[in-house]
């Protein structure tokens, strides 16, 4: 049957892949903004329809058109899942071509493992060849983690001579003609790496150079005549290059992670053995590890084409998905999702499925249950509301924060939401403060992300800076309630110490024709009133006794006062001398005055650093102290 684009989209959705875009090379070229192409130039690009499909990150078998179309055909019951066969050839070949010897002592220093396979009598077309290369690229990108974990090398078996060797040798001893560049003859390995690092034409290989560059030994795959087949994980030799005419393919995957190497090899074999004279058949290679004396220390045969039987109870699959299927129905569904042949055992209570080598994602019965669910169709599952009876609630700190946000908004302040990451300059020096402890990032994307802020003030000042054109005649008021992060080696959460602690702050600024010191001072008093903290009598002594005071409600033992900020305080540099105050809180817990914040007129140098043209005042206090 033929599918319309909409029907195909629907099919993809049900199967669990996403039809991202329908396009063509020509359309892509036309869209490219880097160069405007003429109609004539565009005509050179193919207008063959390309379906761009997003596949789940753990389904390596869907990374090429062979695997994806096979999986969808099986999903539609249009074909049966293939059975992969590892078949040893008869006669002499078994002992020569199909052996790989590893010099373990050497390879252990840089890239310990190798696994191999041979595809016999394969037929390539241009399309198949492209897909073969493309799959390797895709695998290198994700599962192989940019070739650090696994690197795939594929070779024309007939151009080299088995048995093969995997060794690690002194870089200068490795000399060969590489695939790239193809016109500059033979290179010694160090020169070749230098070429890749420096030549723009080889920039696609540059990222892999550091993987081995500084190693005393470089990994190398050789044939019986010491011909270099590959310098993993970087480049193959030109001698064993695959062409459309290649009939027999030797695949080697060198690795630092043996499990992943097997998954990669099995995937490549499962996908492309389809094009062998005997489809889905592969020839094994014996890998032997020997020590410095040439004694055998380990050996195995690859590819594993690891097929296993896994069990999940019918009840579990039903219960996980919230469906009610019979065992027999599940068996049918399993065949759709490449878990066939599936059978029932234990009186039909247990589902036993076959996990093919392409389904390395199956780790647990839960993965079988999921596939049953997918085959059944998520959108066919009957929804229900869980019977879990719980009482909703909120974090006291978040609740206090939200209540204060409302109140400060009512007091005429505009709320802003600024970034938690900032530069060292903004967080310290521009505020007139010495660079102090802060959580710093090891891989900042740019200078704006050097540290996690230890104060909310830079975000507010930068907001002022970006609103120069606003009217300041009535005074400009901003506030934010959010977190800063402070280094703290003792803070324990869930039996874990990471070395830092979040602190919730409330910060506000005023900018206007005059500094607004009293306005910010008033906000501090207001926040204390809202948090049920009473001013100390002495602090109020010079205030006009307002009748309002009679109605004040405050918590027993909670009082506050303010005092001129000590000029040695770490934040004193932010303020105009003599116009900076410390907010001192006494709580029943502390029993004494503790500084929980500061406020004052912002120092003109600081204003200048943030390009602010109006006198300003600010406050910042620790909200957690008021909980």
């Amino acid at each position: 049957r033929t599918y319309t684009d909409e029907e195909f989209d629907e099919l993809c959705f049900e199967f669990g892949v996403e039809l991202d875009e329908i396009t063509s090379d020509r359309e892509e070229a036309a869209k490219s903004s880097t160069s405007k192409l003429s109609k004539k130039e565009l005509a050179k690009f193919s207008d063959a329809v390309i379906y761009k499909i997003d596949v789940p990150a753990n389904r390596y078998d869907l990374l090429c058109v062979e695997g994806l179309s096979r999986a969808i055909k099986i999903f539609l019951n249009d074909m049966d899942a293939p059975t992969y066969q590892v078949k040893k050839p008869a006669g002499d070949e078994a002992t020569t071509a199909t052996k790989m010897t590893v010099e373990k002592v050497n390879t252990d220093t840089i890239r310990p493992f190798v696994v191999c396979a041979i595809l016999r009598d394969i037929t390539f077309t241009q399309e198949r060849y492209n897909s073969f290369i493309d799959l390797q690229d895709q695998l290198h990108r994700n599962l192989c983690r940019q070739r650090t974990l696994v690197a795939i090398g594929t070779h024309d078996l007939d151009s080299v001579q088995g048995p093969f060797k995997y060794d690690a040798r002194k870089p200068s001893d490795i000399q060969f003609v590489p695939l790239t560049p193809d016109d500059k003859g033979s290179f010694a390995a160090p020169d070749l790496l230098h070429f890749y690092e420096t030549d723009p034409a080889a920039k696609h290989l540059k990222p892999y150079v550091p993987i081995i560059k500084d190693s005393p030994l470089y990994p190398v795959v050789l044939d019986a005549n010491d011909t270099v087949m590959s310098l993993p994980p970087i480049i193959n030799g030109s001698q064993s290059k695959i062409t459309l005419q290649t009939k027999n393919v030797f695949i080697e995957c060198t690795a630092t992670d043996l499990t992943k190497a097997n998954i990669v090899l099995d995937t490549v074999v499962a996908m492309f053995s389809e094009y062998c004279a005997a489809p889905f058949e592969v020839e094994p290679v014996t890998v032997e590890y020997q020590d410095e004396n040439g004694s055998l220390v380990d050996s195995y045969v690859t590819p594993l084409m690891y097929t296993r039987r896994e069990k999940a109870t019918v009840e579990y699959c039903n219960s996980m998905n919230g469906i009610q299927l019979t065992g027999d129905e599940m068996v049918t569904l399993c065949n759709k999702v490449q878990l066939g042949p599936a059978t029932l055992c234990d009186d039909g209570k247990v589902l036993e499925v076959t996990v093919p080598p392409t389904r390395s994602d199956i780790l647990h019965a839960v993965d079988i249950a999921e596939d049953v669910g997918i085959a059944y169709g998520y959108n066919n599952i009957v929804k229900k509301i869980p019977n879990t009876n719980t009482v909703g609630g909120e974090q006291p700190l978040n609740k206090l924060g939200d209540l204060l946000r409302d109140e400060i908004g009512r007091a005429g302040y505009m709320e802003v939401l600024t970034h938690g990451l900032c530069s060292i300059r903004d967080n310290f020096t521009a505020l007139g403060r010495a660079v102090g402890p802060a959580v710093s990032l090891s891989n900042p994307a740019n200078v704006e992300y050097q540290v996690v802020r230890t104060t909310l003030l830079p975000g507010l000042l930068k907001t002022l800076q970006h609103n120069k054109s606003a009217s300041f005649t009535q005074g400009f008021k901003l506030f934010e309630i959010s977190d800063v992060v402070l280094p703290d080696n003792e803070w324990v959460v869930t039996d874990t110490i990471v070395g830092s602690k979040n602190a919730r702050r409330v910060c506000a600024v005023y900018a206007g024709p005059t500094s607004g010191f009293e306005i910010i001072h008033g906000l501090v008093d207001r926040i204390m009133t809202l948090c049920e903290v009473a001013p100390e009598d002495e602090y109020m002594a010079n205030s006009a006794k307002s009748k309002e005071e009679e109605y004040r409600v405050s918590k027993e033992g909670w009082t506050y006062t303010i005092a001129e900020l000590d000029s040695t305080d770490t934040v004193a540099g932010t303020y105009f001398p003599g116009r900076a105050a410390a907010v001192l809180l006494t709580s029943p817990e502390s029993g004494k005055r503790i500084q929980i914040g500061t406020f004052g007129i912002i120092h003109p140098d600081v204003l200048n650093n943030f390009d602010i043209q109006y006198p300003s005042s600010c406050m910042e206090i620790d909200l957690e102290a008021l909980l």
Partner: protein
Amino acid sequence: ATIEDTFPWSDEVKIDHKSIVGAVKSLLVDEYVASSDLSASFFTLSKEGEGILANGSQEILVLQALIEAGKLSIKDLQQKVGKDVSKIGMGNCMKNKWAKKDGGDLVPVKTMDEVTDDVQAALKTLSDADGAANGMDDKVVTGLKKRKLISQVTRKSFKVTRGPQYAPTRVKKAADLTKEMLDSGAWKTTPFKPYNFTTLGEKVGGGYLHPLLKVRAEFRQILMEMGFNEMPTNKWVESSFWNFDTLFQPQSHPARDAHDTFFIKEPASTVSVPEEYYERVKKMHEVGGDGSIGYRYDFKREEAFKNLLRTHTTAVSSQMLYKLANQEGGFTPQKYFSIDRVFRNETMDATHLCEFHQVEGLVADYDLSLGDLIGTIETFFKKIGITQLRFKPAFNPYTEPSMEIFGYHPDLKKWTEIGNSGMFRPEMLRPMGLPENVRVIAWGLSLERPTMIKYRINNIRDLFGHKVELARTRTAPVCRFDSVLESDQ
């Protein structure tokens, strides 16, 4: 009782015309008078024009001087008639062929009788007609304008008649009700001006809350209505252990690359983790257990101890579930939620920032199913007005099954991905010590995306950070959704 034209009338009554115009306009508002617009167009003489009217044109003055002297050098001429007159007059004399050059000197060609001062004559005609150019040759008028001797003036005046509210004495209408009027009772007799109903009211001033945080407040409210309990997420720095390992995310997973995650330079390493649990997590990764084959690789302590900025709030969910499993009296069913910041080392564009807010909800109970998850997700999205949902099979390292949530968005009028969901893997839950049939269903979404749709914001930089347009905050409406109540159905 009609003033035919206020302009001549202003002369009669000896009041400045401008004052009269002001008075008429004021009376018009209260309809004491009616008026029709008059306009008169006429010319006035420039200073230079006035000079010519009095003394003759520059060319006449130059010719006269030449005739008187017989011949003059340019310098002498300038001295005689002045620099300005000489310059213009000389040019026009030459053009009219009244004078010619003779070596360095100018000599007259015509006598005074042979020429006429047309310019002076034209100015006189205009002046005599009070600036009216009626019957004058257009070319002449244009010529005078070109020489900037005259300029056109349009004068507005009114014809004024009695209006519908005409009264012999004017009573001024009040613009507003005042305290004095209340005190004196004058409001009873004071006529009020009509109110202009086609202007906006005064700006209210006051403070404003940020749109994203308004949505956060609404989402918190919704989740609490659904019985969810808020998790303490005020912890931005996490160990890789809690952010990845406990979630059964393998140590070689691409999300753990520096390309995706912000790692911490200082403090670079976690100081301590719960060791017994650490061992169970390590074992699950390396060899599996509880029915799982594990990932089969060497689990590295230094990788687990790398500090980072949390990439998801699930790092906290994991800790909450661990605590739930190990609390006194053992596991009890729970529903948790959080809305807080997460950090990704992503390429920033119109929809991606390095930090954003994640909304997360989870239910932990015995024997939960995908059906429970779908039902819970539907309940939540109904409350924010999204009623049509579809679920796509998906992959998350720590959930199985996993579903992407697609919704038909009533504002966007199309299907779009609106969240992610799944059931936490047994490999994550079992090492925590949760009973075997306890399952955890969870879903998550970003807070920014629904906010951007709700407040019609196209670029995330206009929502988050110091560069946002504050006018957007000032104009943002309250956050309410077309929630569908269960009782409506």
